[in-house]
Symmetry: C2
Subunit: 244 residues, 2 copies
């Protein structure tokens, strides 16, 4: 078993955003973790419509979840960052509702489905954490629906960027107001339900207003105040959460 990182020394655990592990938690996770998986940019991690034989936690790298529709259109559900838990739908329901794809090279802590669900019998607190994560995801999706359903393009873009920046800050990925952002404009467009062209023009507006500059796979927040005003006050700092 390739296990470059033992859960006891998991670098993510040191981040204050993640709830502390008990010794028992560490032991359980090490028991469940069967290996680390490395995926290259563009690779599909889990496929819409298939069950998930494995569950993953993102150790490093970035990716995205997206739904592919009958006519070929694509809806990005959200972006994946370290600490995100992947595959619950495919493990619990019979199939994944979306596809998971790597954008950069990613390293994934890998759990086997059958072993994973032992936690329900063995460690009720961890089972509760799974519910917490699912509820949190549901909360986010509700906000995303409201944003996409109700706001004009510039506010949608501002919302997405503000949201992503908050997460990056909590993960220590952002250096001040600058953060890595390896996605394409098409990805952001598909996240926000906008055309590529209009997304591009909206980004140009934000650039001219000197609010956000996206250049060379990096996002520079030039005016956080204006950004949050556009995003609607709904952007809260990322809250503490469990890590699996």
């Amino acid at each position: 078993m390739l296990m470059a990182v033992h859960c006891a020394e998991c670098p993510l655990r040191r981040l204050p955003i993640f709830d502390p592990f008990s010794a028992e938690d560490v032991a359980l996770m090490e028991e469940l973790k069967i290996r680390e998986t490395v995926v290259e940019p563009g690779a599909t991690v889990l496929d819409q419509g298939s069950p998930a034989p494995y569950l993953f936690t993102v150790l490093s790298g970035m990716g995205l979840r997206h739904v592919r529709m009958a006519d070929g259109k694509r809806q990005v559900i959200n972006f994946l960052m370290p600490g995100d838990f992947i595959g619950l739908q495919g493990a619990v329901l019979e199939d994944m509702g979306h596809t998971i794809e790597a954008t950069t090279r990613m390293v994934l802590c890998t759990f086997r489905r059958d072993r994973f669900f032992r936690i329900f019998a063995q460690n009720p607190q961890r089972a509760y954490d799974v519910v917490w994560l699912a509820a949190s995801e549901e909360h986010f999706l509700g906000d995303a629906l409201a944003t996409i359903g109700q706001l004009p393009a510039i506010e949608r873009v501002a919302w997405a960027i503000a949201q992503i920046h908050q997460r990056a800050l909590a993960l220590g990925l952002a250096l001040g107001d600058t953060m890595p952002f390896p996605y394409r404009q098409q990805d952001l467009a598909d996240l926000l339900g906008l055309s590529l062209v209009h997304t591009n023009k909206t980004l140009a507006r934000l650039r001219e207003m000197d609010i956000v500059v996206w250049r060379n796979d990096a996002l520079h927040i030039r005016d956080p105040g204006q950004l949050h005003r556009l995003a609607g006050a709904e952007i809260e700092p990322a809250r503490n959460r469990p890590l699996l």
Copy 2:
């Protein structure tokens, strides 16, 4: 304790869409259920931004979940029907991400938050069911995002109606191709991210095409084939699910 319906005789349990209860399950649910709550049309059951001291399962009646935004706009997340489980977000996270409102008079099985989470320690299978429900909700929200983000008005409306009709069929609420539909056009508009006026005109088109007729709080599916074609093949019959 007012307990008009004992879980053992719960009418919902008889529906084939719901997974069977073991004797132990019945006993646990009766222990958790503290009463039935009746709410009148228009009443708020749980409020966005507040914690949920109680969790509910809809016994009868219909309602909706919606997010209210800073500028007063409203995004409906989905419609509530019997068997739906309410309040998980408010119980697990510190606050509800959306408001829950009754559309018709509703009867709600009521669980106290603190007692409810005993199931994690006492009955791992039921805890798994909670995760199943959360994952299922997440699955639905992904589809909703894709629909609202990518499809034109007529397909959005068709999607929503086809989806709702499937659920009503599984719950025995639909008589053939007719089902009760107590909502206002504004509710459907806010669900689909469309204006009221455009929703009205789109419904008129579906009526003229003799695909769907919505009249007197009832929905008549006149041409299921065409409806599903418009909705995109993504409408599957409702799958079996746990009942809490």
